[in-house]
Symmetry: C2
Subunit: 200 residues, 2 copies
Protein backbone atom coordinates (compact mmCIF):
# COMPACT_ATOMS: atom_id res chain seq x y z
CA UNK A 1 0.00 0.00 0.00
CA UNK A 2 1.32 3.43 -0.94
CA UNK A 3 1.39 6.11 1.74
CA UNK A 4 -1.08 8.86 0.92
CA UNK A 5 0.74 11.96 2.09
CA UNK A 6 0.15 15.54 1.04
CA UNK A 7 3.28 16.57 -0.93
CA UNK A 8 3.28 20.17 0.38
CA UNK A 9 2.91 19.14 4.01
CA UNK A 10 5.48 16.34 3.65
CA UNK A 11 8.01 18.77 2.12
CA UNK A 12 7.50 21.07 5.10
CA UNK A 13 8.00 18.22 7.61
CA UNK A 14 11.13 17.10 5.78
CA UNK A 15 12.65 20.61 5.97
CA UNK A 16 11.64 21.07 9.63
CA UNK A 17 13.30 17.75 10.50
CA UNK A 18 16.66 19.21 9.44
CA UNK A 19 16.63 21.66 12.35
CA UNK A 20 18.83 20.75 15.32
CA UNK A 21 16.81 19.21 18.13
CA UNK A 22 13.93 18.19 15.86
CA UNK A 23 13.82 14.62 14.56
CA UNK A 24 11.25 13.36 12.04
CA UNK A 25 8.70 12.68 14.79
CA UNK A 26 8.95 16.03 16.54
CA UNK A 27 9.03 17.82 13.18
CA UNK A 28 5.72 16.13 12.35
CA UNK A 29 4.32 17.20 15.70
CA UNK A 30 5.49 20.78 15.15
CA UNK A 31 3.89 20.87 11.69
CA UNK A 32 0.63 19.49 13.12
CA UNK A 33 0.64 22.32 15.66
CA UNK A 34 1.27 24.80 12.84
CA UNK A 35 -1.57 23.31 10.77
CA UNK A 36 -3.89 23.85 13.72
CA UNK A 37 -2.87 27.52 13.95
CA UNK A 38 -2.36 28.50 10.32
CA UNK A 39 -3.43 32.12 10.71
CA UNK A 40 -2.10 32.96 14.16
CA UNK A 41 1.24 31.13 14.05
CA UNK A 42 2.12 29.46 10.74
CA UNK A 43 1.69 32.46 8.45
CA UNK A 44 3.52 34.93 10.77
CA UNK A 45 6.34 32.41 11.30
CA UNK A 46 6.73 31.87 7.54
CA UNK A 47 6.80 35.63 7.02
CA UNK A 48 9.34 36.27 9.81
CA UNK A 49 11.54 33.50 8.44
CA UNK A 50 11.36 34.76 4.86
CA UNK A 51 12.19 38.28 6.07
CA UNK A 52 15.27 37.10 7.97
CA UNK A 53 16.37 34.76 5.15
CA UNK A 54 16.19 37.67 2.74
CA UNK A 55 17.74 40.41 4.88
CA UNK A 56 20.18 38.68 7.24
CA UNK A 57 23.79 39.50 6.46
CA UNK A 58 27.18 39.61 8.15
CA UNK A 59 27.78 42.95 9.86
CA UNK A 60 30.51 44.61 7.80
CA UNK A 61 32.32 45.77 10.95
CA UNK A 62 32.17 42.81 13.35
CA UNK A 63 30.81 39.79 11.43
CA UNK A 64 27.73 39.41 13.66
CA UNK A 65 24.60 38.35 11.74
CA UNK A 66 21.77 40.86 11.64
CA UNK A 67 19.04 42.11 9.34
CA UNK A 68 20.73 45.55 9.14
CA UNK A 69 23.91 46.61 7.34
CA UNK A 70 25.40 47.46 10.73
CA UNK A 71 24.42 45.08 13.55
CA UNK A 72 22.62 46.55 16.61
CA UNK A 73 25.79 46.24 18.72
CA UNK A 74 27.97 48.15 16.25
CA UNK A 75 25.16 50.66 15.75
CA UNK A 76 24.85 51.36 19.47
CA UNK A 77 27.19 54.23 20.52
CA UNK A 78 26.98 53.03 24.14
CA UNK A 79 28.89 49.89 23.16
CA UNK A 80 31.95 51.93 22.00
CA UNK A 81 33.87 51.52 25.28
CA UNK A 82 37.21 50.61 23.70
CA UNK A 83 36.77 46.88 24.32
CA UNK A 84 36.34 44.27 21.60
CA UNK A 85 35.68 40.63 22.35
CA UNK A 86 36.87 38.10 19.76
CA UNK A 87 34.62 35.03 19.39
CA UNK A 88 34.64 32.09 17.01
CA UNK A 89 31.08 32.34 15.79
CA UNK A 90 27.71 34.02 16.22
CA UNK A 91 26.57 31.31 18.66
CA UNK A 92 29.39 32.39 20.98
CA UNK A 93 28.48 36.07 20.55
CA UNK A 94 24.90 35.23 21.55
CA UNK A 95 26.19 33.29 24.57
CA UNK A 96 28.29 36.31 25.65
CA UNK A 97 25.26 38.59 25.27
CA UNK A 98 23.08 36.21 27.29
CA UNK A 99 25.68 36.28 30.08
CA UNK A 100 25.04 40.02 30.17
CA UNK A 101 28.57 40.69 31.42
CA UNK A 102 30.20 42.52 28.50
CA UNK A 103 29.46 46.04 27.34
CA UNK A 104 31.87 46.41 24.43
CA UNK A 105 31.76 45.23 20.84
CA UNK A 106 32.77 42.04 19.03
CA UNK A 107 34.86 40.54 16.30
CA UNK A 108 33.34 37.33 14.98
CA UNK A 109 36.05 35.19 13.41
CA UNK A 110 33.68 32.76 11.72
CA UNK A 111 35.98 29.84 12.55
CA UNK A 112 39.53 29.06 13.61
CA UNK A 113 42.78 28.97 11.66
CA UNK A 114 43.07 25.76 9.67
CA UNK A 115 45.70 25.27 6.98
CA UNK A 116 43.96 22.05 6.01
CA UNK A 117 40.64 23.78 5.27
CA UNK A 118 42.31 26.82 3.70
CA UNK A 119 41.21 29.09 6.57
CA UNK A 120 43.86 31.76 7.03
CA UNK A 121 43.99 35.15 8.80
CA UNK A 122 42.19 36.94 5.94
CA UNK A 123 39.26 34.48 6.04
CA UNK A 124 38.91 35.21 9.76
CA UNK A 125 39.06 39.00 9.19
CA UNK A 126 42.17 39.37 11.36
CA UNK A 127 43.69 42.24 9.29
CA UNK A 128 40.34 44.03 9.61
CA UNK A 129 40.45 43.55 13.40
CA UNK A 130 43.99 44.95 13.55
CA UNK A 131 42.83 48.05 11.63
CA UNK A 132 39.90 48.51 14.03
CA UNK A 133 42.32 48.95 16.94
CA UNK A 134 43.61 52.19 15.41
CA UNK A 135 40.39 53.34 13.76
CA UNK A 136 38.21 52.85 16.84
CA UNK A 137 40.91 53.59 19.44
CA UNK A 138 40.51 50.18 21.06
CA UNK A 139 42.16 49.79 24.44
CA UNK A 140 41.51 46.09 24.98
CA UNK A 141 40.95 43.03 22.82
CA UNK A 142 39.50 40.12 24.81
CA UNK A 143 40.14 36.71 23.27
CA UNK A 144 37.07 34.59 24.08
CA UNK A 145 38.07 31.48 22.16
CA UNK A 146 37.38 27.90 23.18
CA UNK A 147 40.04 26.06 25.20
CA UNK A 148 40.57 23.67 22.31
CA UNK A 149 43.77 23.20 20.29
CA UNK A 150 42.33 25.11 17.32
CA UNK A 151 40.95 27.86 19.54
CA UNK A 152 44.22 28.36 21.36
CA UNK A 153 46.32 28.22 18.17
CA UNK A 154 44.12 30.98 16.77
CA UNK A 155 44.37 32.93 20.03
CA UNK A 156 48.18 32.86 19.88
CA UNK A 157 48.12 34.01 16.27
CA UNK A 158 45.81 36.89 17.24
CA UNK A 159 48.06 37.89 20.14
CA UNK A 160 51.03 38.08 17.75
CA UNK A 161 49.06 39.99 15.11
CA UNK A 162 47.91 42.53 17.71
CA UNK A 163 51.24 42.78 19.59
CA UNK A 164 52.31 45.98 17.80
CA UNK A 165 49.01 47.77 18.51
CA UNK A 166 48.41 49.82 21.67
CA UNK A 167 45.53 47.54 22.72
CA UNK A 168 45.97 45.29 25.69
CA UNK A 169 45.34 41.62 24.84
CA UNK A 170 43.44 39.60 27.43
CA UNK A 171 41.69 36.26 27.38
CA UNK A 172 38.86 34.62 29.28
CA UNK A 173 40.40 33.00 32.31
CA UNK A 174 38.93 30.61 34.83
CA UNK A 175 35.69 28.87 34.15
CA UNK A 176 36.20 27.81 30.57
CA UNK A 177 36.61 24.05 30.82
CA UNK A 178 39.29 22.38 28.73
CA UNK A 179 37.75 21.33 25.42
CA UNK A 180 34.60 23.19 26.33
CA UNK A 181 32.71 25.32 23.87
CA UNK A 182 31.49 28.72 24.98
CA UNK A 183 28.04 28.23 23.59
CA UNK A 184 27.32 25.37 26.02
CA UNK A 185 28.43 27.19 29.18
CA UNK A 186 25.95 28.61 31.65
CA UNK A 187 25.75 32.39 31.89
CA UNK A 188 27.36 32.55 35.35
CA UNK A 189 30.47 30.70 34.20
CA UNK A 190 30.86 33.03 31.24
CA UNK A 191 30.46 36.08 33.47
CA UNK A 192 33.04 34.77 35.98
CA UNK A 193 35.52 33.96 33.22
CA UNK A 194 35.10 37.44 31.81
CA UNK A 195 35.61 39.20 35.14
CA UNK A 196 38.73 37.12 35.91
CA UNK A 197 40.27 37.70 32.51
CA UNK A 198 44.09 37.94 32.44
CA UNK A 199 46.74 39.31 30.15
CA UNK A 200 47.43 36.89 27.33
Amino acid sequence: MARADDPGIEALIELMARLPGLGPRSARRAVLALLGRRGQLMAPLAQAMAHVALTAKDCRVCGNISTEELCPICADPARANGEVCVVEDVADLWAMERANAFQGRYHVLGGTLSALDGVGPVELGIPRLVRRVGEEGLTEVILALAATVDGQTTAHYLADALAETPAQITSLAQGVPVGGELDYLDDGTIGAALRARRRF
Copy 2:
Protein backbone atom coordinates in the same frame (compact mmCIF):
# COMPACT_ATOMS: atom_id res chain seq x y z
CA MET B 1 22.78 47.46 30.08
CA ALA B 2 20.25 46.97 27.32
CA ARG B 3 20.41 43.75 25.33
CA ALA B 4 21.40 44.49 21.76
CA ASP B 5 19.29 42.04 19.81
CA ASP B 6 18.29 42.19 16.18
CA PRO B 7 14.50 42.76 16.12
CA GLY B 8 13.89 40.59 13.05
CA ILE B 9 15.89 37.66 14.41
CA GLU B 10 14.36 37.99 17.89
CA ALA B 11 10.85 37.98 16.40
CA LEU B 12 11.71 34.77 14.56
CA ILE B 13 13.09 33.11 17.72
CA GLU B 14 10.00 34.14 19.66
CA LEU B 15 7.68 32.54 17.07
CA MET B 16 9.80 29.38 16.82
CA ALA B 17 9.69 29.00 20.61
CA ARG B 18 5.91 28.56 20.40
CA LEU B 19 6.28 25.24 18.59
CA PRO B 20 5.76 22.12 20.71
CA GLY B 21 9.06 20.59 21.78
CA LEU B 22 11.02 23.80 21.24
CA GLY B 23 11.72 26.01 24.27
CA PRO B 24 13.39 29.43 24.07
CA ARG B 25 16.87 27.88 24.13
CA SER B 26 16.29 25.27 21.44
CA ALA B 27 14.40 27.83 19.33
CA ARG B 28 17.53 30.04 19.47
CA ARG B 29 19.68 27.10 18.46
CA ALA B 30 17.35 26.26 15.56
CA VAL B 31 17.42 29.87 14.36
CA LEU B 32 21.23 29.93 14.59
CA ALA B 33 21.32 26.82 12.39
CA LEU B 34 18.95 28.52 9.95
CA LEU B 35 21.10 31.68 9.90
CA GLY B 36 24.09 29.55 8.97
CA ARG B 37 22.17 28.00 6.05
CA ARG B 38 20.07 30.88 4.81
CA GLY B 39 20.06 29.86 1.15
CA GLN B 40 19.96 26.07 1.42
CA LEU B 41 17.54 25.69 4.34
CA MET B 42 16.01 28.91 5.71
CA ALA B 43 14.62 30.30 2.46
CA PRO B 44 13.16 26.94 1.27
CA LEU B 45 11.65 26.32 4.72
CA ALA B 46 10.05 29.78 4.79
CA GLN B 47 8.66 29.18 1.31
CA ALA B 48 7.31 25.70 2.11
CA MET B 49 5.69 27.05 5.28
CA ALA B 50 4.10 30.02 3.50
CA HIS B 51 2.78 27.70 0.78
CA VAL B 52 1.16 25.35 3.31
CA ALA B 53 -0.17 28.24 5.44
CA LEU B 54 -1.82 29.67 2.34
CA THR B 55 -3.17 26.49 0.74
CA ALA B 56 -3.89 24.07 3.60
CA LYS B 57 -7.59 23.43 4.08
CA ASP B 58 -9.92 20.81 5.48
CA CYS B 59 -10.77 18.15 2.88
CA ARG B 60 -14.44 18.70 2.08
CA VAL B 61 -15.14 14.97 2.17
CA CYS B 62 -13.23 13.65 5.18
CA GLY B 63 -11.90 16.65 7.15
CA ASN B 64 -8.23 15.68 6.71
CA ILE B 65 -5.93 18.69 6.22
CA SER B 66 -4.22 18.97 2.86
CA THR B 67 -3.09 21.55 0.34
CA GLU B 68 -5.64 20.26 -2.20
CA GLU B 69 -9.45 20.62 -2.28
CA LEU B 70 -9.67 16.83 -2.00
CA CYS B 71 -7.05 15.23 0.26
CA PRO B 72 -4.69 12.60 -1.28
CA ILE B 73 -6.57 9.79 0.49
CA CYS B 74 -10.00 10.83 -0.85
CA ALA B 75 -8.45 11.48 -4.27
CA ASP B 76 -6.94 7.97 -4.46
CA PRO B 77 -9.43 5.50 -6.05
CA ALA B 78 -7.50 2.61 -4.49
CA ARG B 79 -8.63 3.77 -1.05
CA ALA B 80 -12.33 3.32 -1.94
CA ASN B 81 -12.62 -0.16 -0.37
CA GLY B 82 -15.89 0.51 1.46
CA GLU B 83 -14.19 1.11 4.82
CA VAL B 84 -14.11 4.44 6.64
CA CYS B 85 -12.17 4.97 9.84
CA VAL B 86 -13.50 7.66 12.21
CA VAL B 87 -10.77 9.55 14.11
CA GLU B 88 -10.85 12.51 16.47
CA ASP B 89 -8.27 14.66 14.73
CA VAL B 90 -5.64 14.85 12.01
CA ALA B 91 -2.91 13.74 14.43
CA ASP B 92 -4.80 10.44 14.85
CA LEU B 93 -5.24 10.11 11.07
CA TRP B 94 -1.48 10.55 10.66
CA ALA B 95 -0.87 7.94 13.38
CA MET B 96 -3.18 5.48 11.56
CA GLU B 97 -1.34 6.12 8.27
CA ARG B 98 2.05 5.61 9.94
CA ALA B 99 0.83 2.26 11.26
CA ASN B 100 0.33 1.33 7.60
CA ALA B 101 -2.46 -1.09 8.48
CA PHE B 102 -5.54 0.58 7.00
CA GLN B 103 -6.38 0.88 3.31
CA GLY B 104 -9.72 2.68 3.44
CA ARG B 105 -10.68 6.29 3.93
CA TYR B 106 -11.33 8.52 6.96
CA HIS B 107 -13.79 10.75 8.70
CA VAL B 108 -12.02 13.32 10.89
CA LEU B 109 -14.39 14.51 13.62
CA GLY B 110 -12.25 17.44 14.71
CA GLY B 111 -13.09 16.78 18.37
CA THR B 112 -15.56 14.93 20.54
CA LEU B 113 -19.14 15.72 21.53
CA SER B 114 -19.24 18.33 24.27
CA ALA B 115 -22.43 20.09 25.28
CA LEU B 116 -20.34 22.40 27.46
CA ASP B 117 -18.23 23.62 24.52
CA GLY B 118 -21.17 23.67 22.11
CA VAL B 119 -19.77 20.80 20.06
CA GLY B 120 -22.69 18.81 18.67
CA PRO B 121 -23.12 16.22 15.88
CA VAL B 122 -23.16 18.88 13.15
CA GLU B 123 -19.85 20.40 14.33
CA LEU B 124 -18.31 16.91 14.09
CA GLY B 125 -19.74 16.33 10.60
CA ILE B 126 -21.75 13.29 11.74
CA PRO B 127 -24.72 13.89 9.34
CA ARG B 128 -22.18 14.16 6.51
CA LEU B 129 -20.67 10.81 7.57
CA VAL B 130 -24.12 9.18 7.62
CA ARG B 131 -24.74 10.45 4.07
CA ARG B 132 -21.38 9.03 2.93
CA VAL B 133 -22.50 5.51 3.86
CA GLY B 134 -25.16 5.60 1.15
CA GLU B 135 -23.32 7.78 -1.36
CA GLU B 136 -20.07 5.79 -1.25
CA GLY B 137 -21.63 2.42 -0.53
CA LEU B 138 -19.67 2.01 2.68
CA THR B 139 -19.70 -1.48 4.16
CA GLU B 140 -17.86 -0.75 7.42
CA VAL B 141 -17.31 2.23 9.68
CA ILE B 142 -14.42 1.68 12.10
CA LEU B 143 -14.58 3.84 15.22
CA ALA B 144 -10.96 4.64 16.16
CA LEU B 145 -11.67 6.93 19.08
CA ALA B 146 -9.65 7.22 22.26
CA ALA B 147 -10.65 5.05 25.22
CA THR B 148 -11.54 8.17 27.18
CA VAL B 149 -14.99 9.15 28.50
CA ASP B 150 -15.42 11.77 25.76
CA GLY B 151 -14.15 9.42 23.08
CA GLN B 152 -16.47 6.60 24.10
CA THR B 153 -19.51 8.89 24.52
CA THR B 154 -18.94 10.08 20.97
CA ALA B 155 -18.45 6.48 19.77
CA HIS B 156 -21.81 5.47 21.20
CA TYR B 157 -23.50 8.46 19.60
CA LEU B 158 -21.93 7.51 16.26
CA ALA B 159 -23.07 3.87 16.60
CA ASP B 160 -26.65 5.08 17.17
CA ALA B 161 -26.52 7.55 14.29
CA LEU B 162 -25.22 4.85 11.93
CA ALA B 163 -27.47 2.05 13.22
CA GLU B 164 -30.04 2.45 10.40
CA THR B 165 -27.40 2.33 7.67
CA PRO B 166 -26.27 -0.93 6.04
CA ALA B 167 -22.67 -0.34 7.23
CA GLN B 168 -21.25 -2.57 9.91
CA ILE B 169 -19.93 -0.56 12.90
CA THR B 170 -16.69 -1.78 14.44
CA SER B 171 -14.21 -0.28 16.84
CA LEU B 172 -10.52 -0.68 17.56
CA ALA B 173 -10.18 -3.49 20.05
CA GLN B 174 -7.22 -4.65 22.07
CA GLY B 175 -4.14 -2.54 22.36
CA VAL B 176 -5.71 0.84 22.99
CA PRO B 177 -4.87 1.51 26.63
CA VAL B 178 -7.56 3.05 28.82
CA GLY B 179 -7.20 6.81 28.74
CA GLY B 180 -4.60 6.47 26.01
CA GLU B 181 -4.54 8.71 23.00
CA LEU B 182 -3.99 7.16 19.59
CA ASP B 183 -1.37 9.65 18.54
CA TYR B 184 1.03 8.44 21.25
CA LEU B 185 0.77 4.73 20.47
CA ASP B 186 3.47 2.86 18.60
CA ASP B 187 2.68 1.67 15.09
CA GLY B 188 2.59 -2.02 16.04
CA THR B 189 -0.05 -1.46 18.74
CA ILE B 190 -2.25 0.47 16.34
CA GLY B 191 -1.92 -2.25 13.71
CA ALA B 192 -2.80 -4.99 16.22
CA ALA B 193 -5.81 -3.05 17.50
CA LEU B 194 -7.03 -2.57 13.96
CA ARG B 195 -6.67 -6.24 12.99
CA ALA B 196 -8.49 -7.36 16.17
CA ARG B 197 -11.35 -4.90 15.72
CA ARG B 198 -14.74 -6.10 16.88
CA ARG B 199 -18.39 -5.28 16.30
CA PHE B 200 -19.41 -2.26 18.34
